[in-house]
């Protein structure tokens, strides 16, 4: 059924149709509306047979989900940013135990400095914890991915993170098609655990494993994600067959067939990128873009296949490997191993800074003219950087950096973008 609703609401309705049995979450911007929506549905009885638990921290949230999942219940939670870090120990634990928990990440920057707006630093911090990571491009896709995620998680016994850009998607009203309960039931069978705490058949879960077997256990986790590389496309095909639209998959190429320049990105910025690609194609430029949906497992073969004939690749990242540069770029370079082409990393949109068509247009033109550095920070205010470096050089007790910069930037509210 078509609806014009907030992205968070769309996700809540999708999750509700997946018949979750235990939902627990701790509030953090920008996921709050998702969990509030689900809580209301449970309280009103609309979402039946579901325990909604208000926990005292994100660490508790994921821990409750771990207990519930281990005991055979379909468990769900949501968090972002600082909250994801606070539950970091449990994130690794859930993956290590092989529990098919689904968690929404409302992508938000990590402080200090504290920042409530969108970037990918949070989910990137957990990229190697063993969770499958899927990035939604639109609110429709965010909705759809949750349905696929439960099935993916349960088939593999591996937890799945569905990432959606905070505010840009979570707080945006969009037209979405919310599936019926019947259709979701036909796609997603009841949870049948591979391991479960059962009084009729007791097992011990969470043993200590020493050097004699740890490597093998870790390899099996890696192997699980390699199986996901096959399963993810199968599920999105099955999803398309049932629901009539394509969602998810490993990667989404856009006008890349004869492209000389290909832009790679995760998440909602792909929409803006596609607009610019269309504009530039109309003007005769051979440009295309590649959206990566499955970041973990990283689809090396698929990325290679799309990018291999391009002259240059520009990876736009909403995250930063401090002291190195790009994170997504690492995966892309890996995929292109042995192939020589020009690779550029562009760090953009950190802490919610808008990525505009104008800025992208200029960026892509520079790339095309080979005037782009290998590592660029989009829309970086060089004067401001200079100002701060000089200020710090003048006195040892130069005070907090963020505050000094903000004083210089002035009242943000008086600007539009």
């Amino acid at each position: 059924m078509l609806k014009q609703i907030e992205g968070s609401r769309a996700v809540a309705e999708a999750v509700a149709r997946c018949r979750p049995e235990v939902i627990c979450a701790y509030p953090i911007t920008p996921q709050t509306h998702i969990v509030e929506g689900l809580g209301e549905m449970v309280k009103s009885g609309e979402l039946a047979n579901c325990e909604f638990i208000n926990v005292e921290s994100e660490f508790a949230a994921l821990s409750v989900a771990i207990g519930a999942s281990a005991a055979g219940a379909r468990a769900y939670t949501a968090t972002a940013s600082q909250g994801l870090l606070f539950m970091a120990e449990a994130v690794y634990n859930a993956a290590g135990l092989g529990l098919p928990i689904v968690m929404t990440i409302g992508n938000r920057a990590i402080g200090a400095p504290i920042n409530i707006w969108n970037d990918h630093s949070d989910s990137m911090s957990m990229r190697d914890a063993g969770w499958i990571q899927l990035y939604a491009e639109t609110n429709q896709e965010a909705l759809d991915l949750h349905i696929q995620a439960f099935r993916l998680a349960e088939e593999l016994s591996c937890p799945v993170m569905v990432c959606m850009d905070g505010f840009i998607l979570t707080h945006a009203y969009d037209r979405v098609d919310v599936p019926t309960q019947e259709d979701v039931d036909a796609f997603l069978p009841p949870f049948e655990p591979r391991q479960v705490l059962d009084v009729a058949d007791p097992v011990s879960m969470g043993a200590m494993v020493g050097p004699e077997a740890f490597t093998e256990v870790r390899y099996l986790a890696h192997h699980k994600q390699l199986r996901a590389l096959k399963l993810i496309p199968q599920l999105s095909a099955a999803f398309q067959a049932r629901f009539g639209r394509f969602s998810g998959g490993l990667v989404k190429p856009y006008r890349t067939d004869d492209a000389e320049t290909i832009i790679v990105a995760l998440g909602s910025v792909n929409g803006t990128i596609q607009e610019v690609v269309d504009e530039m194609r109309d003007a005769g430029t051979k440009i295309g873009s590649l959206g990566i949906c499955s970041f973990r497992p990283f689809p090396l073969a698929q990325v290679r296949e799309v990018l291999q004939h391009a002259k240059r690749v520009v990876v736009i990242e909403k995250c930063l490997a401090v002291g190195l540069g790009g994170i997504v770029s690492d995966g892309v370079r890996n995929a292109l191993s042995g192939i020589v082409l020009k690779g550029h990393t562009v760090i953009a949109g950190l802490g919610g800074r808008a990525i505009t068509r104008a800025a992208l247009r200029q960026l892509f033109q520079d790339a095309g003219n080979d005037e782009l550095e290998q590592l660029t920070f989009l829309d970086l205010d060089a004067d401001l950087i200079q100002f701060e470096l000089e200020r710090e050089a003048r006195a040892r007790r130069s005070g907090p950096t963020a505050e000094a910069i903000l004083r210089r930037v002035g009242t943000v509210a008086s600007q539009v973008a």
């Binding site: 049995e21 235990v22 627990c24 047979n49 579901c50 325990e51 638990i53 208000n54 926990v55 005292e56 921290s57 660490f59 508790a60 821990s63 409750v64 989900a65 771990i66 207990g67 519930a68 999942s69 281990a70 005991a71 055979g72 219940a73 468990a75 120990e89 449990a90 634990n93 135990l97 705490l197 059962d198 009084v199 007791p202 097992v203 011990s204 879960m205 969470g206 043993a207 200590m208 494993v209 020493g210 004699e212 077997a213």
Partner: protein, 334 residues
């Protein structure tokens, strides 16, 4: 004819296999059909108070629930010595997640049992003092506050034993640990610190709180069984000597535990919804020195400088006796 002196000990009805008691009053351990939830073959130290306490507590819980129990274990001695890869000594469903989240994981298991329609399957969470009073404190408080249907058992050996005897907020004043060494002006743990989790549990007004000791295993069983009759958040705090960490003899574990109780340093009481409902009076009061002398972790108190501090410890014991009425006539609820 030479007369041979034979010492005759009146040990009471609780020995001799409980044969003088009615069946349902006997210790779980007297029953051949007991679960042996924590089975033999685990790797606990000789004389481990925690292994003893856990065996009694979990078997008692299993009897109370007719065998329908799931255990959640925090990281610590119990978890480590009971599951040496690739073996496990647990005969019941058991999960170890992390150090600080046993209470939250247990809440999740309890929620799953409700939603699956098997609320008769009960949940016990267990952890040492480190995992309960320190790192697991937030989750514990959350579980209490929500009144989740979980029995949390804390095995208190008064330090982080598994990692090499470091101080926790349950470490008593003056005790030597690796991080409160017996050196300097105030050797051992500092006075004026520490956290009383049973009282904190009572402040949450949860349905049932009790302290217990391996010195009185029948009392421990009774309290666990009683806890299992109640729905909601319950907390049982068991004093368990650790011969290795305390520097006491493995053969003295129960004796040391008894002296802690009889000196007043470890009061045995029960509370419901924040009010004390019963306490075990001290039958034969002993000075704290009887207790302290058996443990090397307090050895530094018995040199020239230690006297004043022994007096401070005695004062703590005396305060407990007064506060809980431990020398008054037995008063129990109902």
């Amino acid at each position: 004819m030479e007369l041979q002196t034979v010492k005759f000990y009146q040990t009471g009805t609780f020995t001799v296999g409980n044969r003088l008691l009615a069946e349902d009053e006997r210790s779980v351990q007297a029953n051949m059909d007991r679960t042996n939830s924590l089975n033999s073959g685990h790797r606990a130290c000789q004389g481990c108070g925690e292994a003893l306490g856990a065996r009694y507590a979990i078997d008692a819980a299993m009897r109370a629930t007719n065998g329908e129990l799931i255990a959640v274990n925090a990281t610590g001695c119990l978890e480590v010595f009971s599951t040496p890869y690739p073996e496990t000594s647990w005969k019941i469903p058991w999960i170890h997640s992390l150090f600080g989240n046993a209470a939250a994981v247990a809440s999740g298991v309890a929620a799953a049992m409700r939603v699956k329609g098997t609320p008769g399957v009960r949940v016990v969470a267990q952890g040492g003092d480190g995992g309960t009073t320190d790192i697991g404190f937030g989750c514990l408080s959350g579980m209490f506050e929500r009144n989740d249907d979980v029995l949390y058992i804390c095995y208190d050996n008064e330090a982080y034993m598994n990692t090499g005897v470091q101080r926790s907020s349950a470490t008593p004043p003056a005790a030597r640990t690796a991080t409160t060494p017996a050196v300097g002006r105030e050797p051992g743990n500092v006075f004026g610190t520490g956290k009383n989790v049973p009282l904190i549990a009572m402040a949450h007004s949860i349905p049932y709180v009790a302290t217990a000791s391996v010195a009185n295993l029948r009392d421990l069983e009774r309290k666990v069984a009683k806890a299992m009759e109640i729905a909601g958040a319950r907390y049982v705090h068991i004093h368990v000597p650790c011969p290795l960490g305390w520097g006491s003899l493995p053969a003295d574990t129960i004796k040391v535990a008894r002296l802690a109780v009889e000196s007043g340093l470890f009061p045995l009481f029960e509370a419901e919804y924040g009010e004390i409902t019963g306490r075990t009076p001290i039958r034969r009061k002993v000075p704290v020195t009887d207790y302290l002398r058996l443990q090397k972790r307090f050895a530094h108190l018995f040199n020239v400088a230690g006297e004043g501090r022994v007096a401070q410890i005695q004062a703590i014991a005396d305060r407990n006796i007064a506060k809980f009425g431990l020398l008054e006539e037995a008063r129990t609820h109902g």
